[in-house]
């Protein structure tokens, strides 16, 4: 019997979870950060595509938790735990947070990439989730894919080749 590998797609300002052998993927990360949280032994992982660092930036009533670094990490962790992952066993990998355009004298919003990374790292730290790999910063876009089976995060770029974490 051949099994078909499904790839769960995560959109921008979106999050989802996956169980082995399926894969989870998000495309075109620029200043956004893709964060993967996983329980290796339980073979379950979740991914969020974070756009903005802090939910305090949000000016809307009904909030999309996946959009902000602080709320996305928390929400993803809760969903993972509700689906059988163990909080104490969780680990994380992240990629993205690039600075796609260089402007001089620019507003704070243009430094959003590094701020997204900081917020995700802080949120992970608050939950005591160790970071086992990261590929952040630079000025190139990234597409990432994670396998809860191997716990490898594959990173594809246009100009800087491909790598694995």
């Amino acid at each position: 019997m051949t099994s078909v590998l499904n790839i769960v797609k995560v959109g921008i300002a979106d999050l989802n979870i996956v169980k082995a052998p399926d894969l989870i993927r998000t495309t075109g990360l620029g200043s956004c950060v893709g964060v993967v949280i996983y329980d290796k032994a339980r073979r379950i992982a979740g991914m969020a595509h974070v756009m903005l660092p802090d939910s305090a930036l949000g000016k809307q009533g009904l909030m999309n938790k996946a959009k902000y670094g602080d709320t996305a990490v928390k929400e993803l962790t809760e969903i993972l735990v509700a689906n059988g992952a163990r909080l104490a066993a969780l680990q994380a990998k992240l990629a993205g947070g690039a600075q796609m355009f260089q402007f001089s004298g620019s507003s704070d919003v243009l430094r959003i990439g590094p701020r997204n990374v900081e917020s995700v790292l802080l949120a992970l730290k608050k939950l005591n989730i160790p970071v086992t790999g990261q590929d952040v910063g630079g000025n190139n876009g990234r597409t990432i894919e994670f396998s809860p089976e191997t716990c490898i995060l594959s990173i594809r770029t246009i100009n800087k080749g491909n790598s694995e974490l």
């Binding site: 300002a13 620029g30 990234r142 597409t143 100009n159």
Partner: protein
């Protein structure tokens, strides 16, 4: 502040007209610059999710050549001029009269990239000048940034302002087409102008044109 969900068809039509005027001027500039005919497809003003916004440019992972600039002044916003890699190469080759220019892999030829940036500068400048005259608002472009990368990585930059208030953007999209030629038999596009006003700019634009918030 205007809520995106409450925007009327009349207002979308006004935004569409803005795209028409702006991109019309830009297309004329491009025509003059390249000495060939450039067609413009009737523009659209649409309310799109962020994901749909990426799809307008061919999908988040599609590689594009882009110029990004911030609009400063009375009605701030973001503007993109987005081309397929092949189209950007063709424009630069025509501008420089050098068929060897390629964007296949970095490092890119500095002169070519600078020509591309200048192209974006001229086009966005004429877009904004037209818009500024039409609305009597003072609008001026920041120094443009060039990005050759995945569309998702590039366009998400222009969504940062609006993403703080909404999960949807209002985009004024105009498609540029080069006329059919030997090298370009299908008359393929493609250039996109995306104008993404910041959330607080919509009311300012509408007011400048005498449209009240009840229309």
């Amino acid at each position: 502040m205007l809520s995106i969900n409450e925007i009327s068809d009349l207002k979308l039509d006004i935004l569409k007209e803005i795209g028409n005027i702006g991109a019309g001027h830009a297309a004329t500039s491009l025509s003059a610059l390249l000495n060939r005919k450039i067609d413009m497809r009737v523009p659209g003003a649409r309310i799109v999710s962020f994901e749909e916004m990426m799809n307008l440019a061919g999908g988040a992972e599609t590689v594009v050549a882009s110029i990004f600039l911030r609009i400063e002044g009375d009605a701030p916003g973001s503007m993109f001029f987005i081309l397929s890699i092949a189209q950007a190469e063709r424009f630069v080759q025509q501008l420089l009269g050098d068929k060897s220019f390629t964007l296949a892999e970095p490092p890119y030829d500095e002169l070519g990239v600078s020509a591309f940036k200048e192209l974006g500068n001229i086009l966005s400048g004429s877009y904004l000048t037209a818009l500024s005259e039409f609305t009597k608002l003072s609008l001026y472009p920041s120094v443009p940034g060039v990005g050759i990368d995945m569309a998702g990585a590039i366009i998400s930059y222009g969504l940062l302002e609006i993403s703080q208030t909404s999960d949807f953007a209002i985009v004024i999209d105009t498609i540029l087409k080069e006329e059919d030629t030997e090298n370009n038999p299908a008359g393929d596009v493609k250039g996109h102008f995306f104008l993404l006003p910041d959330p607080e700019s919509f009311e300012i634009i509408f007011q400048s044109l005498g449209v009240t918030s009840n229309d």
